[in-house]
């Protein structure tokens, strides 16, 4: 197993050389936003829908309500404890004038209404999706989930899990501002 000197050195250096290439590929791969991968709906128009009301004596929530403005659509449910975590953030955003619509997902309307009465109601419009049909069309995998919709009704972003102050500050707020300006 005696190798000539150059071969020896080549054999010694080869592993690290291969690894450098691999590390670069992995680093580039990290730039792919993994959260963006599963959502094929990004950039597509939001599906047509017309949901029944949650709040007593309300009109519900339909596709026409979101046209012409940059809005958030938040998927929640009274059964969902992570939504409870997210709720104060939504209240704060609503108070500062961010238009948020709600989809009360896989939930009885009465339960949703009681929940909003108890913890506060941040939504402009809110509709009930008890059987989860719209949730299916939107590719909702769990609550809470929040969609950013642009003025033309296209889905531009999907936030899986609660909106935290960091996510709002770093991702959603800049995106909404951009969409507002860019039209």
């Amino acid at each position: 197993m005696k190798l000539p000197r150059p071969a020896l050195i080549a054999a010694a250096v080869a592993p690290v050389a291969v690894f450098v290439v691999l590390a670069i590929a992995l680093a580039l791969g990290l730039r792919n936003d993994p959260a963006a991968l599963p959502s094929v709906l990004i950039g597509k128009p939001a599906p047509a829908f017309a949901l029944g009301p949650v709040r007593e004596g309300d009109v519900g929530f339909s596709r026409a309500d979101i046209e012409g403005r940059v809005v958030l659509i938040n998927v929640f449910g009274s059964w969902c404890s992570a939504c409870r975590l997210e709720h104060p953030m939504l209240m704060e955003l609503a108070a500062s004038g961010v238009p948020i619509h709600g989809i009360d997902w896989k939930d009885a309307p009465a339960d949703g209404a009681a929940w909003l009465k108890k913890y506060g109601d941040p939504y402009v419009r809110v509709g009930n999706d008890e059987i989860g049909r719209l949730g299916l069309d939107l590719g909702v995998s769990g609550a809470p989930e929040t969609f950013v919709i642009d003025k033309t009704g296209r889905i531009r972003h999907k936030q899986v899990g609660p909106i935290t102050p960091e996510i709002w500050r770093d991702e959603i707020a800049p995106l909404m501002a951009r969409l507002e300006v860019g039209g």
């Binding site: 197993m1 005696k2 190798l3 000197r5 020896l8 050195i9 054999a11 010694a12 250096v13 592993p15 690290v16 690894f19 450098v20 590390a23 590929a25 992995l26 680093a27 580039l28 791969g29 990290l30 730039r31 792919n32 936003d33 993994p34 959260a35 991968l37 599963p38 449910g77 059964w79 969902c80 404890s81 992570a82 409870r84 975590l85 104060p88 896989k106 769990g142 609550a143």
Partner: protein, 662 residues
Amino acid sequence: MTAEIGRFCLILAFIIALVQVFAGLVGARRGDARLMAVATSAAGGQLLFVGLAFALLIRLFAVSDFSVMVVAANSATIKPLFYKITAAWGNHEGSMLLWVLILAVFGAAVGYLGRTMPAAFRARVLAVQGLIGVGFLAFIIFTSSPFARLFPVPLEGAGFNPLLQDPGLAAHPPLLYLGYVGFSTAFSFAIAALIEGRSDTVWVRYARPWIIIAWICLTIGVTLGSLWAYYELGWGGWWFWDPVENASLMPWLLGTALVHSALVVERRFALVRWTILLGILTFSMSLLGTFVVRSGILTSVHAFAVDPARGSFILALLVLATGGGLTLYAIRSPVLGAGRVFSLVSREGSLVLNNILLVTITGTVFLGTFYPLLIDLLTEDKISVGAPYYAMTFVPLAAPLLLVMVIGPLLNWRRDSGQGLMRRLGPALFVAFAALLLVGAATHGKALLAAAWLAMAAWLVAGSLLILVRRARVGEVSPADSLRLLRALPAATHGLVLAHLGVGLLVAGLAGASIFKQEGVAQLGPGQSAPFAGREIRLVDVTPGREANYEFVRGRVEARRGGGEPILLTPERRFYPERQSDTTEASVRVTPLGNLYVALGDQATDGRWTVRFFSHPLAVWIWLGGAVMALGGMVSLFDRRTWAAPERQSTPDIQTAASPAE
């Protein structure tokens, strides 16, 4: 307070790990016995504080302290206590803490149990082990603290991924990590050997027991993972070539190569440089596995904690560890001795072939795993590589490996003759050929592929037992003497036989269950039945029910073969309200000859249920094979030679080989 104490423990452990690195390296360089002793104590201290932090995290989960973010996000009060505790490592932060805990366990074990090692060498090993600890503790403290608080405090937690609420999954990650992280010892020993420019067998002799322990744990971990996928995911499969599964298979394959090449270094002083490289690469695969799971770089059913910031951090650790290790290898390895020469037809020769094949197989798995990423980078297409790729690459490479597995142990070290080999192999060849004919005839020549693979399994089983027959000189001496010889065999030989036997069983299971597999699906209302695989399967009824943390529907399914007694199977579907998700609990009738697997699907609007059936002949041997392999590893730990005696008079010609002549 508990969370703050936990955080404090982690910071202390981080500082202690820094001390361990410094004391180890400087102490070894100066030959300062006191400083080197500090490195050992530091390894103990690191274990103490990481262990304490982990215990505190478990306590936080046990008492459902939702003011802690990780607990709120992964637990709920209504869960059984057992799953509250397992939830502690069923999430990103907790599992990283477990990772570091196991690292600390191995570090302390090397420090305290490796007393017979040369002091300076041990100090350097501990320093490298400490350095890995520094990196991962920093990762936890800065990007993934399990002790971060949450405000406002929620009344109830978000629950725990129902798929993970399973006893198998309680044991799977810890064992997998024991394997992954156990290979850190191979890395630390190899790096320490490079630092010292040691070209003797010392590092391998002391590293071997730890490598074997890691290998055993990884074997059990991978086997359990496959078992879990089989009965919990409800897809009727045992291996899906998912990136995360591959991430556990790659270190296993390289670790297996390492176990064998280390043997060559130790017994014959050959493959010296190669084994060091393998030590570095095996642990790198573990790091890569950790990276793949944490970074979300590849989409997978398993991926959790998808966060690019964490991904970057682990990538940085991977670059430092592997890049640093390989650079050191590039600089130092040409100086190392080349080792002894051997003929191609020899035990060494067969082990080289084993290594080449195992590394090539690892390469194909690696390529299959990362090819989608590469394509995505180059063309932005999203593709996935599935089973057909592996059937075309993995399987043809596995076949020669399995052939060599039987031949190798029957060869002499250094030099052997082809003729002598053929004579020795006779019985194994005979059994394999008989199996081929038997299965071929039983299937009327229609399943030649299956016959070939089952013959391969017979070859492995017979070949493994043949080792015992030959060592005990059965037929040459009296049976009583044979028995005595058998008893006197070193434990390592029994370990070898068991491990190879396990592979034979595994191959039988894989061949039977994949080639003879039958599957069927039927829409059944209560009382209706469908024929399947020579049986009649009747859905008796489906009843709903409720447990503490989930609701379920349970089907009762009777399978009857001919006029025999019916077997009752009870597949379930569970619904976990806290997470709004379903799980499938397949019901499996397990016999040595085959499994009948029934899973309950959805209910159609007409009230009938989708019921899926699978017949998996011999499937149970897949997991039993894995268990027997692990058992083989354990048995070999009982060999005195595995736990290196302090100094063995060995290899006098090393020193000359070591000097960089010419």
